[in-house]
């Protein structure tokens, strides 16, 4: 099993950015769906407002803004940064890697290690794991981890299985060496047999873009999209999450030497409120330990956990020590969980770019 424990790397700060372009879901889908159905579903899923990238705005534009503010807020000298990890499913180009572009745009030294990774809902857990791995191996001392997407470009407004859920947002997290005891534990898993449960079927190399892949089709549930739009089989993803997430939470808590009583907050990937409530119920975690903020930003993919921290735990982790368990799960299928103590973490105000 892929598991790891770290003692000498900690989160120093987090900043999150959304496009300055709020979208009311109810207004957006009015032309396509019955009003009462939409109201009821919004109520259950939880997303009310989303932010959509403006024309010409990319994931790295948001990541740049978040990282620039973060570096200024925590007072890091750019010359002291030696790693930049960018995890996204909506990079600026097929090539070069967006992390290279960000190294230059952020004016980070050429001694910086940069890396692009393609992951979605599990991205933050994998990213923190990698950052801590590099620091633990003394490869890097200070790493900027940028996680997020501008997935709105791939969402069909006529597909209720995705338009009521997904929004844009990008996070930047500063991770650094710390000789203070800062134990954290990670478990990472994959099941590629579920790849088609959450997929953009066409538009790249397996099925290149053609007139056919760009034409709208109606599925058995009445949703309309093209093969170049994101397609989520909600029932498959729900079944998978219900089966695997409670299990990995239990495993990571044990790996970190805790019992579930020790956990102050459970930070779940904000997939949809309905699903999170059922996961928490199955894992026997009371909802007052499970913060939700789907209503403000929707599901921003890999960025939901840092958004949740900045939105809901900002003041608590600046002063107090908070024992948290995080879990990201979804597209891949890829999932992971981490247990750690958060303290002395600076969360910048969420910025609107």
């Amino acid at each position: 099993m892929s598991r790891a424990k770290f003692n000498n790397a900690k989160i120093k700060g987090i900043c999150c950015a959304v496009p300055n372009n709020p979208i009311s879901i109810e207004e957006m889908v009015k032309p396509y769906f019955d009003e009462n159905y939409v109201k009821k579903t919004i109520n259950i899923i939880g997303a009310k407002q989303l932010y959509y990238a403006k024309e010409g705005q990319t994931t790295s534009d948001l990541g740049y803004a978040a990282a620039e503010k973060l570096i200024a807020d925590i007072g890091w000298k750019k010359q002291s940064i030696d790693g930049l990890i960018f995890i996204s499913q909506t990079p600026d180009y097929i090539l070069p890697a967006t992390s290279c572009i960000l190294q230059d745009r952020l004016r980070l030294p050429i001694t910086t290690l940069t890396l692009d990774i393609n992951l979605g809902c599990s991205a933050y857990i994998y990213g923190l794991f990698l950052a801590k791995q590099f620091i633990s191996a003394r490869t890097c001392k200070r790493i900027i981890l940028i996680v997020g997407d501008t997935i709105s470009r791939k969402v069909s407004p006529k597909d209720k299985s995705s338009v009521l859920i997904f929004g844009d947002g990008v996070s930047a997290t500063a991770v650094e060496f710390s000789d203070k005891n800062s134990l954290s534990s990670f478990i990472l898993k994959t099941d590629g047999s579920g790849a088609t449960s959450l997929i953009i079927p066409a538009g790249l190399n397996r099925y290149p873009s053609t007139k056919e892949t760009r034409s709208e089709k109606k599925d058995q549930d009445g949703n309309i999209r093209t093969d170049e739009h994101i397609h989520m089989d909600g029932m498959e993803i729900f079944g998978f999450s219900l089966r695997e997430v409670p299990k990995i939470l239990e495993e990571v808590i044990e790996l970190n030497g805790w019992t579930s009583m020790d956990v102050d907050k459970l930070l779940l990937h904000q997939a949809n409120n309905f699903m999170l409530k059922h996961i928490a119920q199955k894992a026997k975690i009371p909802m007052d330990k499970v913060p939700l903020n789907m209503d403000s930003f929707g599901n921003t993919g890999g960025a939901t956990i840092p958004f949740l921290i900045c939105d809901k735990l900002k003041d608590e982790i600046k002063i107090n020590k908070l024992r948290v368990v995080m879990s990201g799960f979804g597209v891949g299928l890829s999932w992971g969980a981490a247990a750690m103590e958060l303290s002395d973490v600076f969360c910048s105000e969420i910025i609107y770019v």
Binding site: Y37, K40, T41, I44, K160, S161, Q220, D221, D233, G234, M235, E236, F238, G239, L242, R243, P246, K247, L249, E250, I253, T259, S260, M261, V263, F274, M275, H278, K282, A283, K284, I285, P286, K289
Partner: protein, 90 residues
Amino acid sequence: MNGFNTQDTNGAGREAMIMTNFEKIALLEEMMELGEGSLSEETVLADIEEWDSMAALSLIFLMSENFGKELKGPQIRKLKTIKDIIDIMV
């Protein structure tokens, strides 16, 4: 907190074995937030306003919690009546 509990599905399943059809219907009524007596074995799912994609997810949870079964999308799409659901609630 009572601690995690992901391995009690067998126990729950045993209990569920002795559930009567009446009790199963009551469980489905509760799941869809319908009044007692709203559903019968003959009720056609397509005729129930509350039977929608979210109700299907609720059914996945109900089957997992009460019967230790993982219900898949294709199975759910084949369900036509309440009787079809009752038949898999074992």
